[in-house]
């Protein structure tokens, strides 16, 4: 039998799980609100993309549109990520609080699974960041090799 199961409601471990879940719920809501406010900002006040030097042979307008498009793609990706993360964290929060109140093991197990998925999403995002960084380093090195 696990310690989590042995521990009765209102004893130490349950109290700590409940507190962590409560704070996690607030964190989920504030994070989502922050992202939504940012998205609202992008759509109400379209940031003018800094004019980049257009290489010869390219239409200036098309390049600007491409730059603007990349802004929208990154906004869409960040919204997708924050909604996903919000869902997992909020489910953990509500399920864990309910589990502690009702003393239900199944709900606690489900809550912990959602918390692990929340961290999994962040872990994958960090791996992607490192991967892209390494790729850009390699690209830069190869570029300077062939340019020189």
């Amino acid at each position: 039998m696990s310690e989590v199961q042995q521990s009765q409601p209102d004893t130490g471990l349950y109290k700590y799980i409940y507190n962590a879940a409560r704070i996690a719920g607030i964190a989920a809501i504030v994070s989502l609100a922050g992202t939504l406010a940012g998205v609202l900002g992008v759509f109400t006040k379209p940031t003018t993309v800094a004019p980049t030097a257009v290489p010869e042979g390219f239409n200036e307008q098309q390049v600007q549109q491409l730059a603007q498009g990349s802004v929208y793609i990154s906004v869409a990706l960040s919204v997708l990520l924050s909604v996903l993360v919000f869902y997992f964290l909020y489910r953990f929060s509500s399920l864990a609080q309910a589990a502690v109140k009702e003393g239900q093991q199944e709900k606690l197990q489900l809550a912990l699974r959602h918390l692990s998925r929340y961290f999994k999403v962040w872990g994958i995002v960090m791996l992607l960041i490192v991967g892209l960084f390494v790729l850009s380093l390699l690209g830069g090195m190869l570029g300077s090799l062939f340019a020189g």
Binding site: L13, Y16, G34, L40, M126
Partner: protein, 145 residues
């Protein structure tokens, strides 16, 4: 009879019980939090290295682009902001690392105190996340005005 013994053996080899679902979920959380904290420490170390060699250049460059002309006043603010941000990110990683360790020890040693400690660290982690997100929200709302 032999079959029965064979079935029992994997569980009883060191007198350990199989992990139940909750313990598995806790270990899964520990695995991902450890991965995040290790990658984060790596990124942090490389940022420290870059900043040691060309931190002043980078930050004064940013100050000049954000506030042309007023970079003399803006530069110290930017340095302070960088240190605060860096310190908070380090706190996030520290709490995640501690939580991961406490979760693994708590599950393997069947120690409820360690698990309670792990959730205390996770709570602290979420508090720092709230502070980060509140900054982001305030910045975005300010941008909207």
């Amino acid at each position: 009879m032999i079959q029965e013994e064979e079935q029992k053996q994997p569980d009883s080899i060191f007198g350990t019980e199989p992990l139940n679902e909750i313990d598995k979920a806790l270990l899964e959380i520990a695995r991902w939090t450890r991965l995040i904290s290790v990658i984060g420490f790596g990124i942090g170390a490389s940022i420290v290295l870059v900043m040691l060699f060309s931190g002043a250049q980078i930050l004064s460059g940013i100050a000049e682009t954000l506030l042309p002309g007023g970079s003399n006043y803006f530069y110290p603010v930017l340095v302070a902001a960088f240190f605060i941000l860096f310190f908070m990110a380090a706190m996030v990683l520290f709490y995640l690392h501690k939580a991961s360790r406490a979760l693994v020890l708590g599950v393997l040693q069947k120690d409820a105190t360690q698990l309670a400690e792990a959730f205390l660290y996770l709570r602290n982690f979420f508090i720092v996340v709230i502070i980060f997100a509140a900054f982001q929200l305030a910045g975005n709302l300010f941008n909207l005005l």
